[in-house]
C-alpha cells in the first residue's frame, strides 16, 4: 500500500515501545495513517491509547533512555524521519513540523519574554536578522488575535492568562510556516469559552496558512467540530478511520460506538425534567500493554466478540468511501444499527 501523492505525512506500521520495570510497554502497536496537505486529521482515544506517543514518535521526541521506535516508517514530504539524525530533526522541529501541547506554561520558558521566544525560533530556523524576527513575532501575535500585540511581546508567560499562553504557543508554532502542526490536547486545560475561542482560531488559521493539523484529543466534541478525518485508537492500535461525517453518522467499530453512547449529550433534544436516562457503559478496563495482545484488543470488553476475535487480529475492512474498520464482526455490528 503506497500513500497518495497528496499525503504530506505518512505513518506506516509504527511500533513504539517503552521498557519499564514491569516489562515492555507496546504503547503504539502497528499504527498507519496519512495526513494530506492542508487537512485536519483528528486522532481520538482514551488515556493510554497511544495517541500522544504517536505524536511524539513523529517528532522523534520519545525519551531515548526508556523508549524507542521499534519499527515502522514515518515519511514527511517523502523523507524518512525515523533514520534522521538528532541534528536534522532539530532543524525540522518548530520549522516544518511544529507542535503545541496541553499545558502551555510548561512549554514556555518562564524567564524569557514571549517576543524573545518566538523571535529565537524564527532566527534559528529562518536565519533572518533579530530585528526581522521580532517583527515576525509581532505579526504572529497579531495573527493569533492577541490584543495590543506590540506590548505583549515584552511580557513574560506568567503575566498571560491560560488562553493567551495557548495563543502564544500557536503563534510560535506557526512562526516558520510549518507544513504540519501537531496539537496534543491543545484545549483540554482551558475553560469552555476559551476552548471555543482557541478552536475557532485554529480553524481560521489553518484556512489562512494551509498548514495541515493533526489534532490529538480525547474529546469527541472537539473532534466533531474541528476535524475533517478521524483516526480512532484503542490500546495502541488504530481501530477505525473515517471522514468526520461518516464516523459520527455511522460509527462502525464497537469501541467507537461504545464511546459515543457513553458520553452525556448536550445536543440531543432536552428530556423531560427529572428523568435521567442511563448512559451506556463500556464494561471492564483497557488491557495492560506490557502483555502482548492476541486477537482484537477490544474483544474482552466487546459484546460482539467471538472466538475468532480473541484469537486473530482483525484486518482493516473498507466499509465504503475510505471508512476503515478493524473488526471481524462488522456485519453483525451493522445489523444492530
Amino acid at each position: 500500500m503506497s500513500g497518495s501523492p497528496n499525503a504530506i505525512l505518512e505513518v506506516r506500521d509504527l511500533h513504539t515501545q517503552f521498557s519499564t520495570l514491569d516489562g515492555v510497554v507496546r504503547a503504539v502497536d502497528g499504527v498507519s495513517f496519512e495526513v494530506a496537505r492542508g487537512e485536519t486529521l483528528g486522532i481520538v482515544g482514551e488515556s493510554g491509547c497511544g495517541k500522544s506517543v504517536t505524536a511524539m514518535s513523529i517528532l522523534r521526541l520519545i525519551p531515548p533512555e526508556t523508549g524507542r521506535i521499534a519499527s515502522g516508517s514515518i515519511r514527511f514530504e517523502g523523507e524518512e524521519l525515523t533514520t534522521l539524525s538528532e541534528e536534522q530533526m532539530k532543524r525540522l522541529r518548530g520549522h516544518r513540523i511544529s507542535m503545541i501541547f496541553q499545558e502551555p506554561m510548561t512549554s514556555l520558558n518562564p524567564v524569557l519574554t514571549v517576543g524573545t521566544q518566538i523571535a529565537e525560533n524564527v532566527v534559528r530556523h529562518l536565519g533572518v536578522s533579530w530585528k526581522a524576527a521580532r517583527e515576525r513575532a509581532f505579526e504572529m501575535l497579531d495573527l493569533v488575535r492577541i490584543a495590543d500585540a506590540r506590548r505583549r511581546l515584552d511580557e513574560y508567560p506568567h503575566q498571560l492568562s491560560g488562553g493567551m499562553r495557548q495563543r502564544v504557543m500557536i503563534a510560535m508554532a506557526l512562526s516558520c510556516d510549518p507544513q504540519v502542526l501537531i496539537a496534543d490536547e491543545p484545549t483540554t486545560a482551558l475553560d469552555v469559552t476559551i476552548q471555543a475561542q482557541i478552536l475557532d482560531l485554529m480553524i481560521e488559521l489553518k484556512e489562512k496558512t494551509g498548514t495541515a493539523i493533526v489534532l490529538i484529543t480525547h474529546d469527541l466534541g472537539v473532534v466533531a467540530e474541528t476535524t475533517e478525518r478521524v483516526v480512532v485508537m484503542y490500546a495502541g492500535r488504530k481501530v477505525e478511520q473515517a471522514t468526520v461525517d461518516a464516523l459520527f453518522e455511522e460509527p462502525l467499530h464497537p469501541y467507537t460506538r461504545g464511546l459515543m453512547r457513553a458520553i452525556p449529550r448536550l445536543d440531543v433534544e432536552a428530556d423531560a425534567a427529572g428523568t435521567r436516562p442511563r448512559l451506556q457503559e463500556i464494561p471492564g478496563l483497557v488491557p495492560i500493554l506490557t502483555q502482548p495482545i492476541v486477537g482484537c484488543a477490544f474483544a474482552p470488553r466487546c459484546g460482539f466478540a467471538t472466538e475468532r476475535c480473541r484469537r486473530e487480529r482483525p484486518p482493516f475492512v473498507d466499509a465504503g468511501a475510505g471508512h476503515l474498520v478493524a473488526c471481524w464482526e462488522i456485519d453483525s455490528v451493522r445489523r444492530v444499527a
Binding site: E46, S47, S161, G163, M164, D191, V192, T193, I194, Q195, A196, Q197, L199, D200, H218, D219, L220, G221, V222, V223, A224, E225, T226, V244, D245, F248, G258, L259, M260, A262, I263, P264, R265, L266, D267, A270, D271, A272, A273, G274, R276, R278, L279, Q280, E281, I282, L285
Partner: protein
C-alpha cells in the same frame, strides 16, 4: 426527616486575603464566593457549573467546613453550623460527605483501600474490627468492587475504581448530602459513564442529595435536577435543567451553551456567539455586573449596578438587569 432542605446556604461569602508588601499586610482579597444562596432537598442534585475561578469548588469546601466562611449561613439538616468550631462541627460531619476530583491524590498512598473506606466508620464509632470489615466489604460490593480488593493500596486501582473507592468512603456513614467536586473530570469517557450511572443509582436508592460541582455542561445536564450557573463568585442563573438548556436567560449561560462542543459534525458551524476575552481576575472583579466586560448586551447601567438574583418565572432565577420579571424571554438586543 422532614421535607425541609437538607442543605441550605444563605448569602455565603468567602474572601481569601491577599498579603503583600514587606510587613505582609493584607492588601486586598480574592472574592472567591460573593453572596451565594441555594438549598438542596433530599434526593435532589443541584449542579454548580462555571469556569475556573468562579468559586464553585470554594463553595464545596466552605459547605463542608473545610474552610471557614467569611459571611453568610450554612444550615445542615435544619441546624446552623456556620459558626461551629472544628470540635463542635465534628458530629455534624456524618451528614455531609464528599467525593473529590482527583482520585489519585485524595487517597493516602500508604493505607490499604479497606482502611481508607472504613475510616469514617471508625471515626464516628459506627463499627470496629470484624464488623467494620464486614461493612466495608458490603460497601465495596455496592460500588462495584471486589471485597477481596480491600487489602490493596490505592495505586493498585485504576482511576475509575479509585473513584468508586471515594464513593464507598463517602457512603459509609450514610450521609444526607454528598458534595461531589468534579468527580468524573479526571476519568475517561467510558469510565465516566460507569461512575455517573453509579451515582444516580445510589441517589435513587438512598435518597441522597448531591451538590454536584462541574465545568462540564453535558455531565451536568445528565446528572442534575437543578443547575446554578456561576460567574466570578456569584450565581447568575438558577433553574431546573430543562429550562436552563432550552430557555437560558442570562447572556453568560447562553455563551457557555454555545461554546460547548458537541459530538456532532453537523452542528459545527452553528456556533454563533462565542464570547470573547478572558475571565477577569477574582481579585479585581469588574464593578456592576461581573460579566459586563464580555457581554454583548451590556449597557451603561450594567457597568454600575450589581444585578440581584430575581425569580423571573417560577423557580427560574436570573441576575441580569436586562431580564426583568415577566419580561420577554426572547433574544436580547445589542445596545447601539
Amino acid at each position: 426527616m422532614s421535607d425541609g432542605p437538607v442543605l441550605q446556604v444563605e448569602g455565603l461569602v468567602k474572601h481569601f486575603p491577599i498579603h503583600g508588601g514587606l510587613l505582609q499586610r493584607q492588601v486586598g482579597a480574592v472574592r472567591a464566593v460573593d453572596g451565594v444562596s441555594f438549598s438542596i432537598r433530599r434526593g435532589e442534585t443541584l449542579g454548580l457549573v462555571g469556569e475556573s475561578g468562579c468559586g464553585k469548588s470554594t463553595i464545596g469546601k466552605v459547605v463542608l467546613k473545610l474552610i471557614e466562611p467569611t459571611a453568610g449561613r450554612i444550615v445542615l439538616g435544619g441546624e446552623d453550623v456556620t459558626a461551629l468550631k472544628p470540635g463542635a462541627m465534628w458530629p455534624h460531619r456524618r451528614r455531609i460527605q464528599t467525593i473529590f476530583q482527583d482520585p489519585y491524590s485524595s487517597m493516602n498512598p500508604r493505607l490499604a483501600s479497606g482502611t481508607i473506606v472504613g475510616e469514617p466508620l471508625e471515626n464516628f464509632g459506627i463499627a470496629r474490627g470484624a464488623e467494620r470489615d464486614e461493612r466495608v466489604a458490603q460497601l465495596f460490593r455496592r460500588v462495584g468492587l471486589r471485597p477481596e480488593a480491600m487489602r490493596k493500596y490505592a495505586h493498585e486501582f485504576s482511576g475509575g475504581q479509585r473513584q468508586r473507592l471515594g464513593i464507598a468512603k463517602a457512603l459509609s456513614v450514610n450521609p444526607d448530602v454528598i458534595v461531589a467536586d468534579e468527580p468524573v473530570s479526571a476519568l475517561d469517557v467510558s469510565v465516566q459513564a460507569q461512575v455517573l450511572n453509579l451515582l444516580i443509582d445510589l441517589q435513587e436508592e438512598y435518597g441522597l442529595a448531591y451538590l454536584f460541582i462541574s465545568h462540564d455542561l453535558a455531565v451536568m445536564r445528565h446528572i442534575s435536577h437543578r443547575i446554578a450557573v456561576m460567574y466570578l463568585g456569584r450565581i447568575v442563573e438558577l433553574t431546573d435543567k430543562r429550562t436552563l438548556f432550552t430557555q437560558p436567560l442570562h447572556p453568560y449561560t447562553e455563551a457557555l451553551l454555545s461554546a460547548a462542543t458537541a459530538p456532532d459534525p453537523k452542528r459545527r458551524r452553528k456556533r454563533k456567539k462565542i464570547v470573547q476575552g478572558d475571565v477577569p481576575s477574582p481579585a479585581r472583579p469588574p464593578p456592576g455586573c461581573h460579566f459586563h466586560t464580555r457581554c454583548l448586551y451590556a449597557t451603561a447601567e450594567c457597568r454600575m449596578t450589581v444585578p440581584p438574583l430575581i425569580e423571573v418565572a417560577p423557580g427560574h432565577h436570573v441576575a441580569c438587569l436586562r431580564r426583568p420579571v415577566g419580561g420577554d424571554p426572547g433574544p436580547l438586543s445589542i445596545p447601539g
